[in-house]
């Protein structure tokens, strides 16, 4: 079941490097949300005539019916959304997509840039099951690392920065943790990064799932715009994904 309703901006935090985080409060009780699912956000830009923005759910607060979104300003839509003020309303369709399975005892999440967003909710879900996942975060510099304090209680954190300002210097994909045996690897971030992560997983015979992003219109499987090629033909990123087993993807 998916819903479409107004949320109130309960909090907005501007972060470094064009990132911001919204806390959006629902009047009604939130439905069950699987980590890795996303929302379609309507912005007020162009009198609300622009397409919605698909944004992954960063975290939720069940008690207060809040959905957190971690957003990077990359275009007009995200820039408009960054201007909403606390107390204003934001309309969303939610929850969308398949999300990640909470399975396996030893798991690694690999996030690059804003791709870390869904892993906070996911890390908490594993933590609730008594499992502390390993979370590898890659960023350009220490200034581009986000939400580290939020992750710490729930995850074993591993950091890489391209300039070496924090953690291991280099690309996330060069981190020695890939020599450790995991039950499964989840990855979200730039496609070239996810491809290398999927390759490394394959070399070590570890099943790997990746969360994809394609340009979407409807977000609910009606328009067939956001397809990705799989072993079974085109599938919708919005409804068949966004999470796919890398082994099923033709381009991976």
């Amino acid at each position: 079941m998916k819903y479409c309703s107004d949320f109130v901006v309960a909090d907005k935090v501007m972060l470094e490097n064009n990132f911001f985080r919204l806390a959006l409060k629902s009047k009604s009780k939130l439905p069950s949300i699987i980590p890795g699912q996303f929302v379609q956000v309507l912005t007020t830009e162009n009198n609300g005539n622009n397409l919605r923005l698909p944004i992954s759910i960063n975290d939720i607060c069940e008690k207060n019916n809040i959905i957190y979104l971690l957003i990077q300003i990359i275009g007009e839509g995200t820039r408009t959304l960054s201007r909403v003020e606390i107390g204003e309303r934001v309309n969303m369709i939610y929850p969308l997509g398949n999300g990640f399975d909470i399975a396996g005892d030893k798991v690694l999440f690999v996030g690059g840039g804003v791709g870390i967003a869904p892993f906070l909710h996911l890390a908490k879900a594993y933590h609730n099951n008594g499992i502390k996942p390993d979370v590898l975060i890659g960023a350009r510099t220490d200034k581009h690392l986000l939400l580290l304090d939020e992750f710490k209680p729930y995850a074993e954190l591993h950091i890489t920065t391209e300039d070496g300002s924090m953690g291991t210097k280099g690309f996330v994909t060069a981190h020695p943790i890939f020599n450790t045996k995991f039950d499964r690897i989840y990855s979200c971030g730039p496609t070239p990064m996810m491809k290398v992560v999927a390759d490394k997983a394959k070399q070590h015979n570890i099943p790997c799932w990746v969360s994809l992003e394609e340009r979407m219109a409807c977000g609910i499987g009606a328009c067939l715009c956001c397809v990705v090629m799989t072993n079974e033909g085109h599938k919708c990123t919005c409804t068949d994904g966004t999470v796919f087993n890398a082994a099923d993807l033709t381009d991976f």
Binding site: N46, N49, R215, G219, L224, V227, H234
Partner: protein, 302 residues
């Protein structure tokens, strides 16, 4: 139900003039979480072809000012899967379910129409001779009056229910194509399909769509759509279904004023999943506000 909104489209009756446009409403099921879609005058399901089609490669969508380009390219599971798997799931929805029929050849249009003709709860097909996103057929049939007449006549011979023909705006004279479809035996015309367009990324120096060109829809096309509906409605005697950039009840009224009997909502469904329901309500409010006893009183008054 508000009888003031009930309209006849040839031999079929619509509870109200509001339908959804093919390719924007899936098979209706995608919107059932939001409202009871049986309140609609009808809905047009995804373009259906003889065989399964994968469509074009990604990226197949690009947002443009007040609109969007798509190059989906008729991805669908084929008419046999529609008849055996999808039709049984949706056939009891209490509204007019219209199948958009597409193809690359006259034989394919005929084959698909024949198979849909056998489905009791499908009162009409929308013959898509206007898809800009396929290499063979599609818009090729809709830009030439002789070809349009030929394909409509061929389908007319095997299809005995309501035959709606969907026209492309990418022509010099919409009136000429409209007449050709009418002479071929169309019961109604729906227009416009998308306008052929393209979008370019200046930084990457590349087109935004894998196919380079695609079909433009959304608010940006409404003036073109209104002009086409106005011209077509003056040229033929069969009813017109207007579409192209309808986002609210006022937009819908504009199409009725220029001659449309019914309207379809497409791109707006992506932005506001409740838009069709809101337009049904908005039309009734318009009648109240203007002291009209039936929606047809204002049809074609421009």
């Amino acid at each position: 139900m508000d009888k003031r909104l009930e309209v006849k489209l040839g031999n079929i009756t619509l509870k109200n003039p509001v339908m959804t446009a093919s390719g924007t409403f899936g098979y209706g099921e995608e919107f059932m979480d939001f409202y009871d879609i049986s309140i609609l005058g009808g809905f047009v399901v995804k373009g259906t072809t003889g065989e399964k089609r994968e469509g074009n490669l990604s990226p197949r969508m690009a947002e443009t000012p007040s609109g969007m380009l798509n190059a989906v390219g008729l991805q669908n599971k084929g008419v046999d899967v529609f008849c055996s798997q999808i039709y049984p799931r949706i056939k009891d929805i209490d509204t007019n379910i219209i199948v958009n029929v597409s193809g690359s050849s006259i034989d394919e249009y005929v084959e698909v129409s024949q198979k849909i003709n056998a489905l009791d709860n499908i009162p009409a097909i929308e013959l898509n001779i206007s898809c800009p996103n396929v290499k063979k057929g599609g818009m090729g049939f809709g830009t030439n009056p002789t070809a349009a007449n030929e394909v409509v006549s061929a389908v007319r011979k095997v299809y005995n229910k309501h035959l709606m023909v969907k026209l492309t705006p990418n022509v010099t004279s919409i009136a000429e194509i409209a007449k050709a479809a009418e002479e071929g035996g169309a019961d109604s015309l729906s227009l416009i399909n998308t306008l052929l367009g393209m979008a370019v990324d200046s930084e990457k120096r590349k087109p935004l769509l894998s196919t380079i060109t695609g079909g433009l829809s959304g608010a940006a096309v409404k003036p073109v759509a209104l002009r086409c509906v106005w011209q077509a409605s003056k040229a033929v005697n069969i009813p017109i279904v207007g579409l192209g950039g309808i986002y609210n009840a006022a937009d819908a009224i504009e199409f009725i004023l220029v001659g449309a009997t019914a309207i379809q909502i497409g791109t707006a469904n992506f932005i506001n999943p409740f838009v069709c329901k809101e337009i049904v309500e908005g039309l009734a409010q318009y009648l109240d506000r203007h002291n009209l006893s039936h929606i047809s009183e204002i049809r074609g008054c421009i």
